[in-house]
């Protein structure tokens, strides 16, 4: 199963600031009443973006100058809470290809990586530098380099970090592990025999 090698994401960026942005905020539970992930994008951050009558609240994603951004910037512990893959799916379906935040909740990070959406960590100061640059010029091209672990924008470069297993999986095109897991079939059958509770 050939997967794309995700070595670099470049595009415009938008900052949704704040710490502990939870998955209920990313995609409220009522939008999970679906049997497909298609169409989740429009409900991304719904309750912080929209009033109850459907009109817009002030929110970066409602500003037309940030339309088409593909890199999402945020704060610490991004994606905490529920294990719902609907959260990274909504981010991806909305059009984002990567996230840069201070750090991530565990399950969100794993879910995103499995979707081939790099989640890089950077210091607060450095994220603020990118945010300030795109605030001043939303058209600015931001280049997120997964291999070199850095972000380049408007003549500046900041360092990023990422768990090595995720970086390896992204740049070598094995971020979706299903093929490799299937290849382990015989080893699984052998191991299963050693575990009495798995007997049919």
């Amino acid at each position: 199963m050939a997967l794309a090698k995700i070595t670099q994401v470049s595009g415009r960026a938008v900052c949704v600031s704040g710490n502990d942005i939870d998955t209920d905020r990313i995609i409220p539970a009522r939008f999970m009443k679906c049997v497909s992930f298609d169409g989740l994008g429009e409900f991304l951050f719904y309750d912080v973006r929209k009033n109850e009558d459907g009109s817009n609240k002030p929110h970066p994603l409602n500003e037309s100058r940030f339309n088409g951004a593909t890199i999402l910037l945020s704060g610490a512990n991004f994606g905490c809470g529920s294990s719902r893959e609907h959260a990274p799916q909504a981010i991806q379906k909305y059009g984002f290809r990567a996230v840069i935040a201070e750090n991530y909740a565990e399950i969100f990070f794993g879910n995103s990586t499995t979707l081939g959406m790099p989640c890089l960590c950077a210091s607060r100061e450095d994220i603020a530098k990118i945010a300030a640059a795109v605030q001043a010029n939303p058209q600015l091209e931001v280049v997120l380099d997964v291999v070199a672990q850095e972000v380049r924008f408007g003549g500046q470069t900041i360092k990023t970090t990422q768990r090595e297993s995720a970086r390896d999986a992204l740049i070598n095109g094995r971020w979706d592990s299903i093929g490799e897991l299937i290849d382990g079939k015989d080893a699984v059958a052998k191991l299963a025999k050693t575990l009495p509770y798995l007997a049919a």
Partner: protein
């Protein structure tokens, strides 16, 4: 070499190392429900793959079920569609489905233990972050996303990185009126909502030794709210006594062999921990949240934080954000905060002992006028046990609506929702913005008996003042 439980379970379930350094881990038990599985079955069909171990896959329906309607079709067509999809997927792939007609349906984290499916020394995965609940049995239980559900359906394995282990040792006795829920709210408040990132939590110490399985489940359930991927308690006689005679528990000679095996998984004395935290049980008070994440907790006698007194910029902005949402005044006592709704239930506190404790004190008392109070058993079996003991009647007479089993207002995917900016006193696990179904709804997490006290007075109250609480 001395090993911790998680190391032993990990070693016993390791298939092999993957190219990126992760481990391919065999998942012995896969629990599924209607919300996060339909897309995974879709992916499986796209790959033209069968379910690898249908006999180790168990399903129930919990998130979307209406608690005031049993007959289908449900009034919400989207809920019905999810129910139909799960039913169809289970039939097609040969998976046991504890549906509502079985009398065994309920919140997935209540059903697994109840059926004896959850066992020590095993690996469990489920597309729900509160899967950590099953760690109460000395299982290593992961909440996973939908693509990983596909992986487990297709291969009975998933790719995982190793976790560090933090031993959280709580010794001493809890004061009367202080419960397992207060213990975990206190732990999360102390270590932070992301304090557990990268860790498994091992709950230990004489407090956990004395806890019932249901209390241990309440604590393990909220491990994820502290950022820990899994939480567990080492298996002991309490664990084995709970499991004996349950439908999926081993029987006869197999039982003796299983107990021997289960015992061998407990952490060895002198094993390595990456971190150890010690807490004195006597310092824990009835605890409630005041903000928009489960780490924003206070003892019921404390005051709502003042951003002016924050010790960092981060703390200041998080207090300000929470206060703006909760519409609370800095420095005000949390006790006396007016509530609109009282919710008893969820995978955290929807078990028999939770309702038993509430019924013990609610007898002859009434829910305050104007308060909407609902009690939602965590499973049909819990409902039946409550009915046998007359607990449903006590709570109904007190003014609680006694409902059908499900997740209900914990995440409000059914019609049980807050309206506008109502304040809910809730025995559930999350107080995120909008969590209980209204984008402006406000949640205060607390123990079931604290919910009962709030229901009676109409305000956040100290159980010790409302009831003559005795030692547990």
């Amino acid at each position: 070499m001395a090993k911790s439980l998680i190391q032993k379970v990990w070693d016993a379930h390791t298939v092999r190392q993957l190219a990126n350094g992760q481990t391919q881990l065999l998942i012995g038990t896969h629990l599924i429900h209607e919300v996060t599985s339909p897309q995974a079955f879709g992916m499986l069909r796209d790959l033209k793959l069968p379910v690898a171990m249908p006999h180790r896959t168990f399903a129930t329906v919990d998130h979307i079920v209406p608690t005031d309607q049993f007959a289908e079709p449900y009034s919400d067509p989207l809920a019905q569609a999810m129910m139909d999809a799960l039913r169809k997927n289970c039939a097609e792939f040969g998976i046991t489905f504890f549906d509502r007609q079985s009398g065994k349906q309920g919140v997935v984290h209540i059903v697994g233990p109840e059926q004896g499916i959850t066992q020590p020394g095993t690996t469990i995965a489920c597309g729900d972050s509160h899967t950590s609940t099953h760690g109460a049995f000395g299982a290593v239980a992961f909440g996973i996303g939908t693509t990983q559900i596909r992986d487990v359906l297709a291969t009975q394995t998933m790719a995982l990185g190793e976790l560090k282990v933090r031993r959280i040792e709580v010794n001493g006795k809890l004061h009367p009126g202080v419960y397992a829920k207060d213990v975990i709210l206190h732990i999360i408040r102390t270590l932070g909502v992301n304090g557990g990132t990268g860790f498994a939590y091992e709950y230990a110490g004489d407090l956990f030794d004395r806890m019932s399985m249901e209390e241990r489940m309440t604590v393990c359930n909220m491990s994820i709210e502290g950022g820990a991927r899994v939480g567990y308690v080492n298996p002991d006689e309490t664990t084995f006594a709970y499991l004996q005679g349950r439908p999926y528990s081993p029987k006869g000679a197999d039982w003796d062999a299983a107990v021997k095996r289960w015992k061998s998984f407990a952490s060895d004395a002198g094993c390595h921990y990456d971190d150890v935290v010690k807490i004195d049980a006597a310092t824990i008070e009835p605890t409630v949240t005041w903000g928009i994440n489960p780490g924003q907790g206070l003892s019921v006698s404390e005051f709502i934080p003042d951003p002016a007194k924050a010790t960092s910029v981060d703390e200041k902005s998080s207090i300000e954000e929470a206060l703006a949402y909760m519409k609370f005044k800095p420095g005000a006592p949390i006790k006396g905060t007016k509530i609109d709704v009282a919710f008893l239930g969820s995978c955290t506190n929807g078990r028999l002992s939770d309702f038993q404790e509430v019924a013990k004190y609610m007898k002859g008392r009434k829910v305050a006028k104007g308060i909407k109070a609902i009690a939602v058993p965590g499973s049909q079996i819990v409902a039946l046990q409550c009915a046998k003991l007359g607990i449903d009647k006590v709570l109904s007479e007190a003014g609680f609506e006694w409902r059908e089993a499900g997740c209900s207002m914990c995440l409000a995917m059914n019609s049980d929702k807050l309206v506008g900016d109502q304040v809910s006193a809730s025995s559930s696990n999350r107080n995120f913005k909008g969590r209980q179904g209204s984008p402006t709804g406000r949640t205060i997490l607390m123990s079931p008996l604290m919910v009962a006290a709030a229901a009676i007075t109409g305000t956040v109250s100290d159980v010790r003042e409302v009831f003559a609480v005795s030692a547990n």
